[in-house]
């Protein structure tokens, strides 16, 4: 469970990105974060990863206060998060296999054969069977995003944070990507930041609408509106 309590984030130059926001996400829930650019969607994702800390307020993940200065479990926290970035963050000097396997390798507990097996399984889920040895330069944008999704779901991640994963894709590819999310949503908690009206409307999941750093609407089975 993810809980935001009166979270405010100000950047050093004084601009307020999030202002006193509170919400909670239950385990297994699928939540869309929608809002115009600069509304604070990416900041929420970065706060959950503890990539940045809030200026005030607290964030709890499974009852652990990750904003506590003494919080020392950053590795465990991040290993429980699968993050999909808008710019994919794919390593171009590594093959598809190596990119996807990174999430398992960092855990430092899986044998190479186990990693190989799990990568194969995960690539099948995202529709990239047999592309283990291919390098990112040889892939389309949609395929790159699938690699990023595979990397986010292969490990022990309980929570998937998707930061506009369809933002750089054409509508057809975006829908194919969403099919993958449909497949995995039952096993994971998903927070999905997007601008895509069609996707939000067709999924009929919870929608948090952000505007100027505030949550202006929290809609169960909502639609894209702000």
């Amino acid at each position: 469970m993810i809980v935001f309590e009166n979270v405010t984030k100000k950047f050093p130059l004084g601009n307020i990105v999030l202002e006193n926001i509170s919400f909670s996400v239950e385990e297994g829930e699928f939540v869309f974060l929608v809002g115009p650019s600069g509304a604070g969607k990416t900041t929420i994702i970065k706060l959950i990863q503890r990539e940045i800390l809030p200026t005030s307020g607290s964030i709890f993940i499974d009852e652990m206060d990750i904003t506590d200065k003494k919080f020392s479990n950053v590795l465990t926290l991040r290993r429980n998060l699968g993050v999909i970035f808008q710019d994919f963050k794919i390593l171009y000097d590594k093959s598809v296999f190596e990119n996807v396997a990174l999430s398992l390798k960092v855990l430092e507990k899986y044998s190479f054969s186990k990693i190989k097996e799990k990568v194969k399984e995960t690539l099948a889920i995202v529709g990239l069977e047999g592309k283990e040895g291919v390098f990112p330069i040889q892939l389309s944008a949609g395929e790159l995003q699938r690699v990023a999704i595979a990397r986010a779901i292969i490990g022990e991640q309980k929570i998937i944070l998707a930061d506009e994963p369809t933002g750089n894709l054409d509508p057809k590819t975006a829908w194919e990507i969403m099919k993958i999310f449909k497949k995995i949503e039952k096993q994971k908690t998903i927070i999905f930041a997007t601008h895509n009206t069609d996707i939000v409307n067709s999924f009929q999941r919870r929608v948090l609408v952000l505007k100027n750093g505030k949550i202006i609407k929290d809609l169960r089975q909502g639609k894209y509106e702000f």
Binding site: L77, V83, R151, G155
Partner: protein, 299 residues
């Protein structure tokens, strides 16, 4: 090894800079250590020679010689004193000239002087002991190796000081260059490091490839520098051999271990190799560790 080769291929100039600076430092370290040990060994050798020999007039009463010997022993400045009687001196003379009957015929026991061979506790006591001996009228001649010892003492002391300063400089120079090069390499992998950090990789996991590369670089640099140093050493071996003719061996004591420095001894050379390798590895790992620290901030 594959990752190491890929890294060299990706940043050949940075890798060459790391290797060359390590190679140069370890090469100099090898020669500094060898020279230091060599001079220490020479000093030890000279200290084990009779440092003062006092030759008495042939008819000096033995009791007078024993009195001088006792006085010196009680002074606290003498390590040991050996009395060589006329009879013993003649035996030594006979041994030395056994192939020359003419010389043996010319000399008898009575004309050889009895002597005291004195070993001082510290070379600095030598002039004082010599002065004391010269005051005795029964002593004909006092021989001591003041100049050689003093020069060697000064040289060893200077070499030690220069070595420490030079080590300090080498350490700083190598660290700075290695850190700058590793910083650059880390910057090239900035995206990967950031990603690994977001995926929950431990600091050690992220550092591991850089540390591994440093380890291998230091190992190869020490092997190459050692090989070159050996070539040079063996090239100058005949010259050193003729220069040190008459010296059967030089030994240096380090932490209760005794190493033979001369003639060239493989155990001693390997000990220096391990020491320089250790120095190189520590230096290289430390530089990588510090250079990667900048990118491993988990808030």
């Amino acid at each position: 090894m594959r990752d190491f080769l890929i890294s060299i291929k990706r940043a050949p100039f940075q890798s060459a800079a790391s290797f060359l600076v390590l190679f140069f430092s370890l090469f100099l370290t090898f020669f500094l250590l060898f020279s230091l040990a060599f001079f220490e060994g020479l000093l030890t050798y000279l200290e084990t020679r009779p440092q003062i020999i006092a030759y008495f007039q042939p008819k000096t009463d033995e009791n007078e010689i024993f009195k001088i010997r006792n006085d010196l022993s009680q002074s606290g400045k003498v390590l040991s004193i050996k009395y060589v009687s006329q009879k013993e001196a003649f035996e030594i003379y006979k041994k030395m000239n056994k192939d020359n009957p003419l010389l043996l015929e010319m000399v008898s026991e009575e004309i050889l002087p009895p002597s005291l061979e004195i070993y001082a506790k510290k070379p600095m006591f030598l002039p004082e002991i010599a002065e004391y001996l010269k005051k005795h009228t029964s002593i004909d001649e006092v021989q001591f190796q003041k100049d050689i010892l003093e020069r060697l003492l000064t040289l060893t002391s200077i070499l030690r000081k220069v070595s420490f300063s030079f080590f300090g400089y080498l350490f700083l120079m190598t660290m700075t260059v290695l850190m700058a090069v590793t910083h650059f390499k880390v910057a090239l992998k900035k995206e990967e490091i950031e990603l690994l950090s977001l995926l929950g990789a431990s600091s050690f996991y992220i550092r591991k490839p850089f540390l591994k590369e440093s380890l291998l670089m230091a190992f190869f640099a020490s092997v190459f520098s050692f090989s070159l140093a050996l070539l040079i050493l063996f090239y100058f071996h005949p010259f050193l051999n003729s220069y040190l003719q008459g010296i059967s061996g030089l030994t240096v004591n380090v932490l209760n271990f005794s190493f033979n420095v001369w003639p060239i001894n493989w155990v001693f050379l390997l000990a220096i190799f391990f020491l320089t390798s250790f120095f190189g590895i520590v230096l290289s790992l430390l530089a990588s560790f510090l250079a990667t620290s900048k990118y491993l901030n988990y808030n």
